[in-house]
Symmetry: C2
């Protein structure tokens, strides 16, 4: 059995949250959007009864699942990438949704007015949005995540990593790419989050993937680095 993952070629994007969980779990998958001759937009139109709204989606052979957090809920359950008990499962799903909220806000700093318009057309609004994100939102989300890591837990849901941890790794890495100056000033106060990111990045299960060319660099996608959107505060 092998899953078909569908996502735009050439960038990590929201697909990365699914991809890194599959890789960390040692779960076979095909990256269909990166294959020669496939067309993600065209394929998207082909689903009838339970269609995805947008990539990423996962074709399991039996199900076509979309929405990043929904795909991860399925994979977590089926492949032990989340706790088995209801409490742990819901907690990991809750964290995943909060991670996706922060991802959406990070994206909206460079496209505050419209995803479908060019950055240059919304640069002034982007500067203001990024200032608010760096000043208000990043500390608020970081306080939250630090609180959830406070205590005895090694990972978000206990001694074993879950997909919330791999997603957090992607989030922190994306933020460091987009806002290196701001992340440097946040580091002393939120050291536990940076350590957590490193702990996930050092998982033996992830080393092959992170060194491979399947793991694409952030550039010009969900997370973007523009000099004028970053600052130390």
């Amino acid at each position: 059995m092998s899953y078909d993952l569908w996502y735009w070629a050439g960038l990590p994007g929201r697909g990365e949250f699914v991809r890194i969980a599959l890789e960390a779990g040692g779960i076979p998958y095909r990256e269909r959007g990166r294959e020669e001759g496939t067309d993600v937009a065209e394929q998207l139109e082909r689903y009838d009864s339970t269609p995805p709204y947008a990539p990423p989606w996962l074709d399991t052979g039996e199900l076509v699942l979309a929405q990043t957090a929904n795909i991860l809920l399925y994979l977590g359950d089926r492949h032990g990438l989340a706790p088995k008990d209801a409490k742990g499962k819901l907690w990991v799903n809750q964290l995943q949704l909060t991670i996706m909220d922060m991802v959406a806000e990070a994206h909206d700093t460079h496209h505050p007015i419209a995803d479908g318009a060019y950055y240059e057309e919304q640069k002034e609004a982007a500067k203001q949005a990024a200032e608010q994100f760096r000043g208000e939102r990043m500390p608020k989300f970081f306080r939250h995540f630090a609180k959830t890591l406070n205590g005895e837990r090694k990972f978000f849901a206990g001694e074993a990593w879950s997909y919330a941890d791999t997603s957090f790794y992607v989030l922190m890495s994306g933020l460091e790419f987009a806002f290196p100056q701001r992340m440097a000033t946040l580091r002393p106060e939120y050291r536990s989050l940076f350590e957590h990111r490193d702990r996930v990045g050092e998982l033996p299960e992830l080393q092959d993937y992170l060194a491979s060319d399947r793991c694409l660099p952030f550039e010009n996608g969900l997370f973007r680095h523009y000099e004028e959107l970053d600052a130390s505060a």
Copy 2:
């Protein structure tokens, strides 16, 4: 047993998606944020081990669950507000997440730059964001939802309503409040969506609630009506 629902008093907001599901399911709950002497922000600080990031959250007595879609996943499972089988459950969760994406985009039309700043400070950006939302995003989401309703199904997941249907009712009602002109021009092409909203609004299970003062009008919250943000196209 009775659930404690925590959400800001005085507005439907994201809490409404949980509230309407509880009401439609005939599930007892207390609206804690609307009780005399409670302070939602203060209460939020009191959770340690699995804290909510923001309202709404649901205290079940055993669990404290946050993130709208996560709360609904729990309620759907436990109270039969979603199909029992994995396929149906994941489909309803997927729809809920897409509904929440559209809700976030509708919110961002009036607060494109920062949720924490006044509307008046971002009015020009809001006009541009609303134009894109009305012109590009609403038709794109509507095409998607219409596709999911296309066929024999009475509700999103079959013959019985699920929480995706009650959420869709809130979404459509909020959009009609915020963008009455645009909704009027979209109606002929997406008649099935308006009929679907009406079908949910006519559920016998919802009549008491919709006529009660527990059901608050939209104003100045997640969905907002500003003349300058609405137009027929």
